[in-house]
Amino acid sequence: MQHCAPEQLGLAALREPLPADDAAHFESCEVCRAEVASLQRAVDVLAVPELATPGAPVLPPPRVWAAVAAATGVPAERSQPSNVVPLRRRRPLLLVAAALVAGAVVGAGAVAVVQHRNDDGGRTVEAVALDPLADKDASGRASVVEEDDGTLALQVELKAPALADSYYEIWLIDRSVTGMYPLGVVRPGTQTVEVPPDLDLTQFPLVDVSVEPLDGNPAHSGNSVARGELKS
């Protein structure tokens, strides 16, 4: 039988299966096997997972952009390296504002609204709507709740589909979307997560819900599905 066609041997070097009759010849032909082995060296060197087409994006820390800007002389201030979904117009649902707009409410009345007591004993300081991002199917509401001992918590009501092999996480993010705190895992429904003591909410006013894959990577996935902005 004649040797395999050169093109077939090229494909074999890429580890594509040979047609049956070629395969039978190939098994017994030193020449064809040597040819594939010599072509395969380049495949083995280059077709490695580390060089494959990019998979999940990973957000580099801000210092990387700072270093790029410094090395190139390009002004650093504009770019906020970010794979986090941009803000869209949000509809803040401020109880304070609502109370004031209502008109006649002053003094104790406003305070009563602002310091609305929660079912579980805390006082709602502020609430904000979580609006869906881009074409995402998630929304809800986040309320900053002050517990009796003065600590803050975030009550999250999430309306979103259940997930398989991934989960929702809630974050507080700064306006430049470079610094962020993960507050914990959330699921569709209502739950409360603690805000780290002494965290300045005015510096991290964006309440962000992301979908996190089960990949062992604690960084933000970049896949934000809903977001709101705290105003106070």
């Binding site: 280059l46 990019p54 002004p75 979904v85 979307v177 970049g222 896949n223």
Partner: protein, 216 residues
């Protein structure tokens, strides 16, 4: 060639900025990816910022996949954007989208980092074996042929024209079969097969001429 740019836009772009009072407002429409590529090639500084915003995540994702999170990966990401900017004259928008070009540079920087580590390893091992002063023992440790050949072959890929380069990249880096490549590119099966064959021959020749395995 449409496939070469098949890099997904990062999940997002940052399209808001701070005003003097600190509130966030939308800015006017940002240039699309193609326009960013054109501005980049033209040396407009804002294009580097935009390219970084849009594709640093992809680049850093590759770097982290190769080296894990940390200084090595950050170094690679930094080097990619600095090299892309200083070498922007080498980017031709007509030849493909900017993110595909950035990914190509990322492959080089990853391979370079491996090669540098391998060199450092050999130097360390050489120093150790010299310190031990074993008579007759090897003074230099062996070169990792794959590491140096990778640098060589990535360089050879850069020399390829289209559609050869796109075809072999789909085979190597997206693990597509020749039939899938034909479907993706719209090229006839026979064309894809013969380009694969010729490119593999070309890479083999480069290894035969300059490869580490034969020099070592």
């Amino acid at each position: 060639m449409t496939t070469l740019g098949a890099i997904r836009r990062p999940v997002t772009t940052w399209t808001a900025r701070r005003t003097s009072v600190g509130s966030v407002v939308p800015v006017p429409a940002e240039p699309d990816d193609q326009e960013v590529g054109r501005l980049f090639a033209a040396g407009q500084e804002s294009a580097l910022s935009l390219a970084y915003e849009r594709w640093a995540g992809q680049v850093h994702g590759m770097a982290v996949r190769a080296f894990g999170p940390g200084p090595d990966a950050e170094d690679v990401t930094q080097q990619v954007f600095v090299a892309a900017w200083t070498g922007r004259a080498g980017y031709r928008p007509a030849a493909g989208p900017l993110p595909a070009w950035l990914v190509g540079i990322t492959r080089h920087k990853i391979a370079d980092t491996w090669a540098r580590r391998d060199r450092q390893r050999r130097e360390t091992e050489a120093a150790v074996s010299q310190a031990r002063a074993q008579p007759g023992g090897p003074v230099t440790a062996g070169v990792d042929a794959a590491v140096t050949d990778r640098v060589l072959l990535l360089d050879e890929l850069d020399q390829l024209g289209q559609p050869q380069r796109g075809i072999i990249e789909l085979a190597f880096f997206e693990d597509l079969t020749h039939a899938q490549i034909a479907a993706r590119t719209g090229l006839p099966l026979g064309t894809v097969k013969s380009h694969i064959r010729r490119t593999l021959e070309r890479l083999r020749t480069r290894l035969e001429v300059d490869g580490a395995a034969l020099r070592a």
